[in-house]
Symmetry: C2
Subunit: 355 residues, 2 copies
């Protein structure tokens, strides 16, 4: 028996079947194909002012109080890795998306989709990690749901977290506030999370002492706000790495961005692993790094504030938003040898399922 | 290469390995095993006042405004069924959990976990259903996330939605407000959603004209509140059906409940399908039904209000919270032939993955 067909929708699917008849891994990879999915299916279907902010979350006011609301699902493989596990990621990732809205993370929900047969001990360890990460990030897990799917219809465990945070300042942080001439700050060295996952991935495993950079970022953001930095925009660098974060902001703000590659901190071990694997660290995922767009005349002070926190010890002033809007909103990278190249979005992700 | 072992946690997993070394389907089934998972792992680990409300969502105040926050993941199979699809469920299910907190649903998040190879047209249809359901329920989808997992590591699509709603009255709706002598109202006939899913399930399919009861419930709750019914508690009846909803409230309120089976509306087709399949409709899932606990002297008026809405046309006064707290918090059912039996939780769900 086949399901009753649904009534036809008047509008046809805007992604031509001839291009992509089926969803491919790259549609979830943080690159061009994911952007196409969002821009051609989700944004036009659900169109509303909050979604069109193209922010890391939705910001709205209730009873005169600005709140942020966001969600992410976590499907990382393997479930455990040096520096964390899927539980740590699920708490920090969503709390960080709230922080990127300038919101103090308050409450998280937890939606678990467990594959039948997951060892109970594994579930227990992941839940303990979520609790430890929540305590460290200053958030509470206040509501949840558990689903179990048949063996072979899941992959151990998937975790969705959604979060609610409170915005306790008047800064309109978001892509729409980026201004020509803004300084682009990066909170630390890049690529550690992606390379860590790769080092423990079945069939790719290699020896390294690198650990994931997975960490809660609110304390860094709070320090900038508390000390009067007029933050224009924040973006954490997950799928697609620094390159994707920069491109998303350039496009949403409709402004070109110029980056100096020599100013982008990359640990020797990450650089070495990337060379062997043929990866560019600027596209590799992070889970504890963000970029901040601030007025140029506040850049040095903001950098000092970031560096005063161990999580921002390697913060760097990596580039500038172009002073004119005359060119297309592209990201250019001045390389170590002085050449300029366009830093484009990849179609997908170099390594799938890093978060 | 094996993942680096995590530091040992001081406390061992409280579910004895000898009982359940692995997660089984019933841990997600809305019955006794799911309750054990929640009570022995989630509640003690994350313990906080909001979680211990044992409500359909977390209720908290921000800037003097009471809000509700909830989440659910949807893993229903098949994805499309008479009366709806996974997208309809994902919107109504979470909006209804907000309504059960007495909150007007405002905003939803959407977290999609798509299996590589899902036809793009299927995704498009589901997203259109989410939009139609959101418009009907009066909520906006304001933030989202998309992950893609390898073919064979998912099951078409899983959807998580989380929701934020606003509480615009002073009633302390929740299990803690249930009082001895309260009337138990049921908003309509039961079992349609579960039987519908079963009728289109691979290997189980049978002919029926039954459609899922999946529907947004806020208009019913709003009518009760607007017309001055002092609602004590609300619970929508999903996994585990009416029996589970009643048991959850009885236990959380620590009060026995007595139900009159003859007052519970069940459509002939549902009753017939249940007889053939050996199911009890009282345990079969619904997606557009709830129970309301109200003061006995308001029961008739509340029933009239429910029946004035097409979604509550078959509402019924099905039972009473015991007037004394002297007995254990069990649910007793007076059957059609006048015998009393204890209506217990099942270990899991009669049919897995109905939502």
């Amino acid at each position: 028996m086949t399901p009753t067909p649904k009534p036809e929708f008047s509008q046809a699917c805007p992604i031509p079947i001839s291009d992509y008849p089926n969803v491919v891994m790259a549609h979830g990879g943080g690159g061009r194909l994911m952007q196409q999915l969002i821009e051609s299916i989700f944004v036009p279907t659900f169109k509303n002012d909050l979604l069109s902010q193209r922010h890391d979350g939705a910001v709205f006011s209730l009873a005169g109080q600005r709140l942020a609301f966001t969600t992410d699902s976590y499907v990382v493989q393997p479930l455990f890795f040096p520096g964390g596990d899927i539980g740590t990621l699920a708490v920090n990732g969503t709390a960080n998306d709230l922080a990127m809205c300038g919101a103090r993370p308050l409450y998280l929900s937890s939606g678990l989709i467990i594959e039948e047969g997951l060892p109970m001990e594994t579930l227990w360890r992941i839940v303990q990690s979520m609790k430890q990460a929540a305590d460290k990030a200053g958030v509470q897990l206040v509501t949840g749901d558990t689903k179990v799917v048949d063996k072979g219809k899941g992959d151990g465990i998937f975790i969705n977290t959604a979060g609610v945070g409170v915005i306790e300042h008047n800064l309109p942080i978001g892509p729409g506030s980026v201004r020509p001439g803004d300084a682009v700050l990066l909170s630390g060295d890049i690529g550690r999370h992606g390379i860590t996952i790769m080092s423990v991935r079945d069939g790719l495993g290699f020896e390294t002492s690198i650990e994931s950079d997975c960490a809660p970022l609110w304390s860094l953001v709070a320090a900038l706000i508390d000390q009067g930095i007029e933050i224009h925009c924040l973006r954490d660098l997950t799928r697609g790495g620094l390159a994707s974060g920069l491109n998303e902001i350039a496009q949403a703000a409709n402004l070109p961005i110029a980056i100096d590659e020599t100013a982008v901190p990359v640990r020797e071990e990450v650089r070495g692993a990337c060379e062997i694997l043929g990866f560019d660290p600027i596209y590799v995922a992070n889970e504890g790094r963000f970029i901040a767009f601030v007025p140029a005349n506040q850049a040095d002070r903001a950098l000092g504030i970031l560096r005063a926190n161990p999580l921002g010890a390697d913060a760097s002033h990596i580039g500038t938003v172009a002073a004119t809007t005359e060119t297309r909103p592209i990201v250019t990278l001045k390389s170590q040898i002085g050449a300029n190249r366009i830093l484009d979005l990849l179609s997908g992700e170099q390594l799938p399922r890093i978060c």
